[in-house]
């Protein structure tokens, strides 16, 4: 298995280098064989296409080049040039007035943007070269170039995907990719409450933050990280499977022959999906408080003598969270299961019944395998979703109770994600938050990859059909 994967990788790598090699070769050939229009296009984008009448493509390419230089000269360079130090001019006072120095944050952010711009610039240059080559070859072969109108119209037919994806891809690039790259880089800086822009500078510190994460002595947060990670995994496991099986059970109960008002039961359950969580969970949080409704009534009725510490005892808080999560999560699974259970052919059950199987046996040998098979990928996404289930934890406990045994203000019910949030918002400890964020990514990615390859529906696509 490992060897196979290795081979694959090697193949992929060699393919990649081959492609790059071919790319360079093509550029060389284009230049050597190209006419003066092509050669000039190496410097002035789109000149060749414009001269050959491909105005639309040519102008688009030229516009990209102009925009790039305009961006770099007018805006980008001042940031990119300081990228290696993240700024050196400190903020100072001139009399009572404040004169801000370099803003490390913006230098890092726009520096990253500039690097992306440069990569895009090179890519466009390559497209530009290829376009020239294509046109020349077409002309040499004596064929006509497509008209400008054809080029434009192809955006609604052959190249319709470019039209459809242009906006989403740009949006994702600016508001997802750029910020993620930025934050990954923050993990290698000392950007925290003592180095806060614009008043203070921050700078590169290499792997110090990662060393802090795995440091188990003194002020290191290694032990805390491990405990939070462990609880994150335990929580995700419980949250996913309690909801899955209980949801399935409820769905089967409602589906049962002879149960009436099916729609009513479902509607009642589904309320927890419909009501916004910040309303329902905050109310439930207050309900279970030490001095809340539940404890109040239990004491009043004499069932307990002193209050049950639902949120203040670490173990009980964890259990309560999982239980409340069932309240939130069962309906979702119930809806899904209801639809899927109908798909199981009735004659399977019929023949099992003739063979004398009891309901439990039927569940174990027909219903469960079918459900697990069909919903495998769903279970996986639920699991990774629960790893990052911010709302339930934060609205119920905010990660509390804290403990003297945990560093960096982590609480006993904190998931990695809520811990990360608290670091960002309460402590402005961005450097460690970035490190934790990378760890969340690693955990999610590893689990997804491993489990995905183990899923029966992936291994054996045709299996159940």
């Amino acid at each position: 298995m490992a060897k196979g994967a290795n081979n694959k990788k090697k193949n992929a790598a060699s393919l990649f280098f081959e492609a790059i090699g071919n790319g360079f070769k093509e550029i060389g050939v284009t230049f050597a064989e190209g006419d003066i229009k092509t050669k000039l296009s190496f410097l002035i984008f789109g000149l060749g296409p414009i001269l050959r009448g491909q105005i639309l493509i040519g102008v688009a390419l030229l516009l990209c080049e102009v925009l790039f230089f305009y961006f770099m000269a007018g805006f980008g360079w001042q940031y990119l040039s300081k990228f290696s130090t993240l700024g050196t001019v400190a903020t100072k006072k001139v009399g009572r007035k404040t004169v801000y120095g370099d803003n490390s944050f913006l230098i890092l952010l726009f520096g990253v943007l500039c690097i992306f711009a440069i990569i895009a610039f090179i890519a466009i240059w390559y497209i530009n070269v290829k376009e020239n080559r294509k046109e020349e070859l077409l002309l040499k072969a004596g064929k006509k170039l497509p008209s400008n109108k054809d080029v434009f119209m192809s955006l609604f037919d052959k190249n319709f995907h470019k039209t459809l994806l242009a906006l989403p891809v740009t949006g994702i690039f600016v508001f997802t990719v750029l910020p993620i790259v930025f934050m990954i880089l923050v993990a290698f800086t000392n950007y925290d409450k003592n180095h806060q822009s614009p008043s203070n500078l921050f700078t590169w510190v290499g792997l110090d933050n990662f060393k802090n994460l795995v440091s188990f002595s003194g002020a290191g947060i290694g032990p805390t990280f491990l405990q939070v990670l462990l609880w994150t995994l335990v929580w995700a496991l419980f949250a996913t499977f309690t909801n899955y099986f209980l949801g399935l059970a409820v769905a089967m109960l409602i589906n049962k022959k002879g149960i009436k008002f099916k729609k009513l039961w479902r509607t009642i359950l589904v309320l927890t999906i419909a009501v916004p969580q910040f309303v329902s969970l905050l109310y439930v949080m207050k309900m279970f408080a030490n001095d809340g409704l539940i404890n109040g009534y239990l004491i009043k009725w004499g069932i307990i003598k002193s209050y049950i510490p639902f949120w203040t005892d670490p173990m009980l808080a964890r259990i309560t969270i999982i239980v409340v999560n069932i309240w939130i999560g069962i309906p979702y699974m119930m809806l899904i299961a209801t639809g899927l259970l109908m798909n199981i052919p009735e004659d399977l059950y019929e023949s099992a019944r003739i063979d004398g199987a009891n309901p439990w046996q039927m569940f174990r040998s027909i219903t469960l395998p079918y459900m697990l098979f069909v919903t495998g990928p769903f279970l996986l996404t639920q699991f990774t979703g629960n790893l990052n289930n911010f709302n339930v934890i934060y609205l119920l406990t905010q990660g509390k109770p804290q403990s003297v045994n945990l560093a960096e203000k982590a609480g006993n019910t904190d998931l990695l994600i809520t811990w990360l949030y608290k670091m960002t918002v309460n402590d402005t400890n961005y450097r460690m938050a970035a490190v934790i964020g990378i760890m969340v990514f690693v955990v999610t990615a590893v689990i997804s990859l491993v489990v995905y390859n183990m899923l029966p529906s992936v291994k054996d696509e045709e299996g159940f059909q």
Binding site: F105, L109, M153, F156, D157, K158, F160, H161, L164, L165, L167, P168, G171, I172, V174, F175, T176, L178, P179, F182, M183, L253, G258, I259, W265, T267, I268, L269, V270, L271, T272, A274, V275, P276, F278, V279, S280, Y283, K286, D291, G292, L293, Y297, K300, W327, L335, G339, L340, T375, T381, N391, I417, L420, Y421, T424, V425, G437, F441, T444, S448
Partner: protein, 287 residues
């Protein structure tokens, strides 16, 4: 035969008992929420109490919410609706576009794009909050401009959530497209005149999910709008009543506000439940 029948009857009775118990548990918090919202903060007490039924029913809390001289609740409500409507419209459009391109067309970089987005999705969203905040600030879309800012951020990255919609498109036979193309229809024409009219359930599902999410957005909304009361949404405005000590005795008002938020969203959801079930079931199977 008779024993089978009684057995079944007993089974049903047990089933009903369980269902009734579950219903009570499920409804209890909501009943509590509604009851508390009728406890007057002026004459009874607005903070927490350990009894369920108010001693006297009153509409004080609701009157407070509608009194614009005392708080901005109505404004927050309007903001949330604006965000929800715009996000719902644009997110549906974008996800339809992305899904169609990925489901129907084959082009260089398609699998790369899908893999890349899958990996991006594994980074926790909160990680990038500070960065998004300053990006939005460059465009003037924080504080006073927080509402368009929130819409922009949500819509800009929603392309990655194409799975359910693409799964639905995958079930529409490709033969239909091919037949239309032979008749000379362009891709765009097929998309607009054939696929979209066939996708009513999934459009409603996407729009519904997109519409419901902003009602709960506390984290990023509070981060972008801080210090500007008039651009809060209901979640940001109201959680302060529970979490900060500046608002003593606002608990019943929180409950009333919560009820008003829950009613339209719940009704809408119940009304469109059929499509929601279709969407999540399809999504679960496709993964």
């Amino acid at each position: 035969m008779k024993s089978y029948k009684t057995k079944r009857a007993i089974g049903n009775i047990i089933g009903y008992i369980i269902l009734i118990l579950i219903s009570i548990i499920w409804l209890f918090p909501f009943v509590g929420l509604v009851l508390q919202s009728f406890r007057s903060y002026a004459t009874e007490y607005g903070g927490m109490v350990d009894y369920l039924v108010p001693k006297q029913f009153s509409l004080d809390n609701y009157k407070f919410l509608f009194d614009t001289s005392q708080n901005n609740y109505l404004l927050w409500y309007k903001n949330t609706i604006v965000i929800a409507v715009f996000v719902s419209i644009f997110q549906t459009i974008i996800q339809l576009c992305v899904s169609y391109a990925l489901s129907r067309m084959r082009f260089a970089g398609r699998t790369f794009l899908m893999r890349f987005w899958l990996i991006l999705g594994m980074f926790p969203g909160f990680l990038t909050m500070i960065c998004l905040y300053f990006l939005l600030k460059q465009f003037g879309l924080t504080q006073a401009g927080a509402i368009p800012g929130l819409i922009l951020v949500t819509v800009a990255s929603c392309g990655m959530g194409y799975y359910v919609c693409k799964g639905y498109f995958d079930t529409i036979p490709k033969a239909l497209d091919e037949a239309a193309m032979i008749d000379g229809a362009t891709r765009a024409r097929i998309f607009f005149t054939m696929i979209i009219p066939m996708s009513k359930p999934i459009i409603i599902y996407t729009a519904l999910v997109a519409f419901m999410a902003p009602w709960c957005d506390y984290v990023f909304a509070s981060y972008v709008a801080f210090g500007h009361d008039t651009s809060y949404n209901v979640a940001v405005g109201m959680t302060r009543w529970v979490w900060t000590n500046d608002y003593q005795g606002y608990f019943t008002r929180f409950c009333a506000g919560g009820v008003l938020v829950a009613i339209p969203v719940t009704l809408l959801f119940m009304f469109l439940q059929k499509y929601y079930v279709e969407g999540v079931t399809g999504g679960a199977v496709k993964g």
